[in-house]
C-alpha cells in the first residue's frame, strides 16, 4: 500500500515517451502523429506506448495534462494587467510545447478542444473577475482575451504568418498589451480605451 519512493526504470522511459509525444503532437497534430513515430523518437518499441498509456487517446490525455498557473492579478498594478498577462502568455507558449500541442490538436480533436475550453474558462475567468469593473460580463471578457491570445498563438506559432511570427516580442507586446487591457478593464466596449501603460 505504500508508495514507492525510489524512481523506477520505467519512469525515465515514461517521461521520454511523454516528451516525444508532446513534440510530435505540437508539430504534426493528432492524426499525423503516429505511435510508431513517437516510439521511435523515444527510442523504444511502439507496444511500450500502449503498455504505459493504454491507447493513443490516453497518451494524448497524459501529454496534454497541465495547468496554466496564471499569476495573481491582485499583485500587479491594474493599468498594466493587459501587458503583464500577455507577456506571461507569450513566455508560457514559448517554453512549453504542451500549449502548442493542445492548440494544434484541438482544431480537429474534440477532447483537446474540450480541454482548451476548460482551461480558458476555468483559469482565465477568475483572473478577469479580479480586475474587471463591477457588474461586467466576466465570461465574455475572458472569451475576448482568449480570442486575441489564441489568435496571436495561431498566427505566430502555428500558421507562422510572417509579420506576426517575425515581430520582435516587445513590439508585439506594445500592440497587443493595450488590446487585452481594454478587454480586461474597460468600463464599456466603446468607452475610451486610452492606454495608460505608456511607459512600461
Amino acid at each position: 500500500m505504500s508508495t514507492e519512493v525510489r524512481l523506477r526504470r520505467s519512469d525515465a522511459t515514461r517521461a521520454a515517451i511523454l516528451a516525444a509525444a508532446r513534440s510530435r503532437f505540437a508539430t504534426d497534430g493528432y492524426e499525423r502523429s503516429t505511435i510508431r513515430a513517437i516510439a521511435a523518437d523515444a527510442g523504444i518499441d511502439p507496444s511500450m506506448v500502449m503498455r504505459y498509456f493504454g491507447s493513443k487517446e490516453g497518451l494524448f490525455a497524459a501529454a496534454a495534462d497541465f495547468e496554466l498557473r496564471l499569476p495573481d492579478p491582485r499583485g500587479m498594478p491594474r493599468d498594466h494587467v493587459g501587458r503583464l498577462a500577455f507577456e506571461y502568455f507569450l513566455t508560457r507558449w514559448e517554453d512549453d510545447g504542451t500549449l502548442q500541442a493542445l492548440l494544434r490538436v484541438g482544431v480537429t480533436n474534440e477532447a483537446a478542444a474540450q480541454r482548451l475550453r476548460q482551461i480558458f474558462a476555468d483559469q482565465l475567468a477568475p483572473m478577469v473577475a479580479a480586475v474587471a469593473p463591477a457588474g461586467a460580463d466576466v465570461a465574455a471578457r475572458a472569451g475576448l482575451v482568449a480570442s486575441q491570445v489564441l489568435g496571436v498563438a495561431l498566427t505566430r506559432y502555428v500558421l507562422r504568418l510572417p509579420p506576426v511570427a517575425g515581430m520582435p516580442r516587445d513590439e508585439l507586446v506594445r500592440w497587443v498589451g493595450p488590446t487585452l487591457q481594454r478587454y480586461f478593464t474597460a468600463e464599456d466596449p466603446v468607452a475610451d480605451a486610452s492606454v495608460s501603460d505608456r511607459n512600461p
Copy 2:
C-alpha cells in the same frame, strides 16, 4: 479550341464533389476527411474524385480556391474601417465554409497554411495600406489584424469557446471593431486608442 458553352453532365457532379469536400474539410480537417466519405456525400464512387481532381491534395486545392474580395476601404469613413472590416469578415466566415475549411486544415497541412498566409498577406495588406498612417509598417498591422480576426474565427467557429461562440454578433462587433480600428489607423501602438466609432 472553342470552349464548350453547354454545361456537361460532369459539371453537376464536379460541383457536388466540391461542395461535399468543403463541408467535410471544414468540419473534420484534412486527415479525417476521407475520399470515401466525400464521395458518399456526393452520391458517387470514390474513383470519380480521382478522375476529376487527380488526388486528395488536388481536391483540397480546388476546394480551397477562392478570393477574400475585401471591400475597398477608400469608400468608407476612416474612423469606421475597423468595425466595417470586422463585420465583413464575420459575414464572409459565416456564409462560406471555404474559410473554415482553410483554417481547420491549415493548422496541420502546410499547403493550406501557405494559402492562408498568401490570402492574408496579399489581400489584407493593400487594405491596411489604404488607411494606415504614412510611414506605418503595413505588414505588421495586417498581421495584427489577422491575429485578431483569426483568433475570433478560431474561438467562435472552430473551438466554439462558449462566451465567444454564443456572443451576439453586434456585441462582438462593439468589442472587436475598436481593436481592429487601432491596428488599422493608430499613429502608434501606445497612442491614445480612443474610439470614435461610438455611435455606429
